[in-house]
């Protein structure tokens, strides 16, 4: 068979089209997203949380479990779970006539474990990524401290270790590593506790039961039931990051 220039170009074009189509619509991408396994999420009942304004038991439990230091210089602060003014936590929420109690208060915030996390997309070493169960995970061994993720996160959930955190830890929990100077860290959804079927440390520590941890993939789960029956907001939904932390207002 003699392949002329004409038929060669035709076949090359068809081949390129096929390649582009397979890249654009990878087989099984939808299946992977729907495919089994839990999708962890958290729900915060802001009313219950605000009843105890001075309470910081969740943060204390978290910081103790994960060796989060208390640093003297606020510019070096390492944050896993903290409180933010309502207007800073929900800057695009129009709240002129909202209850003063809410708008003048501080909201509990931490990593949103977004469904479409911008932080993981910019990491040049794949030191952070979204797991199938929704946890935005970090590999501190691989982090080179470039801080792209810090810049990419629209919620300020990521902190850089400017100084060695060890000397600033009152008690070191030996079962969990500390971090070292030059890596980025944030809330991990207590991924080390999940295989043991334990809730995150903050949820466990909350006496007001203002925090709920659950599986969004299970339609019968408690968190899905609350989301069905009550109105919940997420932080900065307009950015399209699809946070997995819901706030009942």
């Amino acid at each position: 068979m003699k392949a002329g220039r004409r038929s060669f170009l035709k076949n090359a074009g068809l081949g390129a089209l096929g390649l582009a189509a397979s890249k654009a619509f990878p087989a099984g991408a939808e299946g992977a997203k729907a495919g089994g396994g839990p999708r962890w999420a958290m729900l915060i009942d802001t009313r219950k949380c605000l009843e105890e304004k001075e309470c910081a038991k969740c943060a204390e439990a978290c910081h103790e479990a994960h060796n989060v230091p208390t640093l003297p210089n606020p510019r070096h602060e390492v944050k896993w779970i903290w409180k933010e003014n309502f207007r800073e936590a929900f800057p695009d929420q129009e709240a002129e006539y909202f209850d003063e109690v809410l708008t003048s208060s501080k909201m509990l915030v931490f990593c949103n474990h977004c469904d479409k996390p911008p932080c993981t997309r910019v990491c040049p070493t794949q030191a952070t990524w979204r797991r199938a169960d929704g946890v935005v995970m970090m590999d501190w061994h691989r982090c080179i401290g470039c801080r792209y993720c810090v810049a990419a996160c629209p919620y300020g959930s990521r902190s850089f270790n400017w100084i060695d955190p060890r000397p600033h830890l009152a008690n070191v929990t030996p079962t969990y590593p500390t971090r070292t100077r030059g890596v980025v860290e944030k809330c991990t959804f207590c991924e080390e506790r999940l295989p043991e079927h334990r809730s995150p440390a903050c949820v466990e520590a909350c006496e007001a039961k203002a925090m709920m941890f659950g599986d969004l993939a299970d339609p019968t789960s408690e968190i899905r039931e609350v989301l069905r029956t009550r109105f919940a907001v997420r932080r900065r939904p307009g950015l399209g990051t699809h946070p997995e932390i819901f706030y009942l207002v």
Binding site: N67, R131, M137, D139, W140, H141, V172, T173, P174, T175, Y176, P177, T178, R179, T180, E191, P195
Partner: protein, 127 residues
């Protein structure tokens, strides 16, 4: 050969200085091989002593990747034990004294792994 004596003397001095560590070890006894204390209450490690001696760092690297990146936390070892893939919870549960176990060899070989910059050595191991 012009200035042969000076050249040969120069070479001799040069070799004498460059090979000083070799002469030093030849004259003075070389540093004693480290003695590591193995735990008495547990007979088996996660692999044979020869494998652990030669490639414990590779085992730890595989464990690290399995736990952190794949979310797999336990493994069945070649010696038939089911263990948690953890430096602090498994390895240092038996080899509790970092100074006497880890540091003994690492110092002898002048290697300084960065494990303990983050991972916490068990309490009381520094005594």
């Amino acid at each position: 050969m012009y200035d042969g004596g000076k050249i040969l003397a120069g070479i001799a001095i040069f070799l004498g200085l460059v090979l000083l560590p070799v002469w030093h070890n030849a004259v003075v006894a070389s540093a004693p091989r480290p003695e590591v204390k193995t735990p008495t209450h547990e007979k088996h490690c996660v692999d044979s002593a020869a494998v652990m001696r030669a490639s414990h760092m590779n085992v730890l690297d595989q464990w690290r990747d399995a736990v952190v990146r794949e979310g797999v936390r336990t493994t069945v070892t070649p010696t038939g034990m089911t263990v948690s893939m953890s430096l602090t919870k498994t390895c240092m549960n038996c080899h509790a004294n970092k100074k006497e176990f880890c540091d003994a060899c690492h110092n002898y070989l002048a290697v300084s792994p960065t494990c303990w910059e983050c991972h916490v050595e068990p309490k009381g191991s520094s005594s």
